[in-house]
């Protein structure tokens, strides 16, 4: 029995050595984790800008601007993100020589921008119509009402939803290996291709994603509690 445990343990530590320690393979994982996090951050920032823009377009007075905003959101939400990534890389950026990180940022930023635009829209709609009416009836203009009354309140509903979108994005970026970026998933793939070990790199990477997401989720919960608490004033 003891023998058996020792044997298992030896096999396990040998596997760990082979998959992570030998040739400093853990560095691949750390590097991949860094890329996953950085890419998610730049993409969400770009997505927020695009989402804001799309929201403005969709609230525009002019039909064709509304149509542009609508089409953007519609197409992105209607196609798999993998398709978007491939089209961005091989069609849009076909003959432009930019850093892959930029391509990734654009692809995932475009993707999340559509969802973020929906978040913005819902956030604005979540504010009672009475607030707009009160603002307008006091003689504030439409944009003043939006700036001083609606947005400051909507932000509380938008922030947690944005953070959630960030988490979604982290998980979505698992496909950037297709454009040769070396994210967390790809790091696991590379190790797998070196050691041909089916389980360990896979489970290690899954665990890292889980921890990353968990930490952020706890952060969001804290944020929501904080925002709710500050509502009670």
């Amino acid at each position: 029995m003891v023998q058996w445990i020792i044997g298992k343990w030896d096999a396990f530590s040998h596997d760990v050595y082979l998959n992570f320690i030998k040739e400093s393979r853990y560095l691949l994982i750390l590097d991949g984790l860094k890329t996953t996090i950085l890419l998610s951050i730049t993409a969400i920032l770009f997505g927020i800008v695009l989402g804001g823009l799309a929201t403005l377009l969709r609230r525009s007075k002019y039909g064709f601007l509304r149509a542009i905003g609508y089409t953007y959101v519609d197409v992105i939400r209607g196609t798999p993100s993998m398709m978007q990534l491939l089209v961005i890389n091989f069609v849009v950026f076909a003959s432009v020589n930019v850093d892959l990180f930029v391509v990734g940022t654009v692809a995932f930023g475009l993707n999340s921008g559509a969802y973020i635009s929906e978040i913005f829209r819902a956030g604005i709609l979540s504010i009672d119509k009475g607030q707009t009416e009160a603002g307008r009836s006091l003689g504030l203009s439409s944009s003043q009402t939006m700036t001083y009354i609606i947005l400051p309140q909507a932000i509380k509903n938008i922030l947690p939803a944005l953070a959630n979108e960030f988490i979604m994005l982290i998980k979505e970026t698992a496909i950037v290996g297709y454009i040769a970026m070396r994210d967390l998933t790809k790091a696991g793939d590379i190790i797998r291709s070196l050691t041909y070990d089916a389980y360990m790199p896979l489970l290690a990477v899954a665990l890292l994603y889980y921890l990353l997401v968990k930490i952020l989720t706890l952060g969001i919960e804290w944020l929501e509690r904080y925002l709710r608490a500050s509502d009670m004033r």
Partner: protein, 241 residues
């Protein structure tokens, strides 16, 4: 001061106002009563252009506010509105609720607006609440703040849409008192309310609306004692008068 001619409003083919003609003079206190759905709120909101009239004209001090190109924001600054649901801005404290509009519309400097706010707060006995947030106030306090928030723009007319309907019965009195004070100070007021006591005491004229029209009107004493219209009589008996 306010001249309404042939005002109609239709929502998705449902006519809600069906041709209203009405003159409201400087200093009048007009109380509007009527059954639910008769168009009272819609009428009030049309005066303020919160609803766009389908047809008809509204002249405020001679200016046609329904004309294309009318400066809606300017017009609204002359008319204060108080809602059933208070609609205070929950993210701003009481002082900021009151001073936001005077400052942002350029009517007053920050300091002026602050002074005005404090004198208004004193008038309704809520000076010490200047730094509180709406969530910390009772319903009656909220509605009093909503009233002086509108007053801070120095409007020529004040519109009230059932200002006491959302209040606990205990708090109705304090809000009506503020409105009575305002009436005594000579403000022109148009008030939709179910508070018949207030109508009797304060109104210079009572309008009874029914199905999108002004069915009957008169001075309160005469109106409540001898309602001429059949619908008015049945309405008044149902609400217990």
């Amino acid at each position: 001061m306010i001249v309404v001619n042939g005002l109609c409003k239709t929502f998705d083919k449902t006519p809600v106002l069906r041709g209203i003609d009405e003159h409201i003079h400087q200093g009048e206190k007009v109380v509007i009563i009527g059954p639910s759905g008769s168009g009272k709120s819609t009428f009030l909101r049309c005066l303020n252009l919160l609803e766009t009239p389908t047809s008809g004209t509204i002249l405020i001090e001679g200016e046609d506010i329904t004309a294309p190109g009318a400066n809606v924001d300017k017009i609204r600054q002359k008319m204060g509105m108080v809602f059933q649901q208070f609609n205070l801005f929950p993210h701003l404290n009481v002082l900021d609720n009151i001073t936001l509009s005077p400052v942002k519309t350029g009517k007053n400097t920050k300091e002026e607006a602050r002074d005005i706010a404090f004198s208004l707060l004193k008038r309704v006995g809520l000076e010490e609440k200047a730094g509180s947030f709406p969530g910390q106030l009772s319903g009656g306090q909220k509605q009093r703040i909503a009233i002086i928030r509108a007053l801070a723009m120095s409007p020529d007319v004040m519109l009230f849409d059932e200002p006491t309907s959302a209040l606990d019965p205990e708090m109705v009195g304090e809000v009506l008192q503020v409105m009575k004070d305002l009436a005594e100070a000579g403000m022109t007021m148009v008030v939709v309310t179910h508070e018949m006591g207030f109508a009797r005491e304060v109104a210079s004229r009572v309008l009874f609306m029914d199905e999108g029209l002004i069915a009957e009107q008169g001075e309160p004493d005469e109106f409540f004692k001898n309602p001429k219209n059949e619908r008015t009589r049945s309405f008044l008996s149902r609400v217990g008068i």
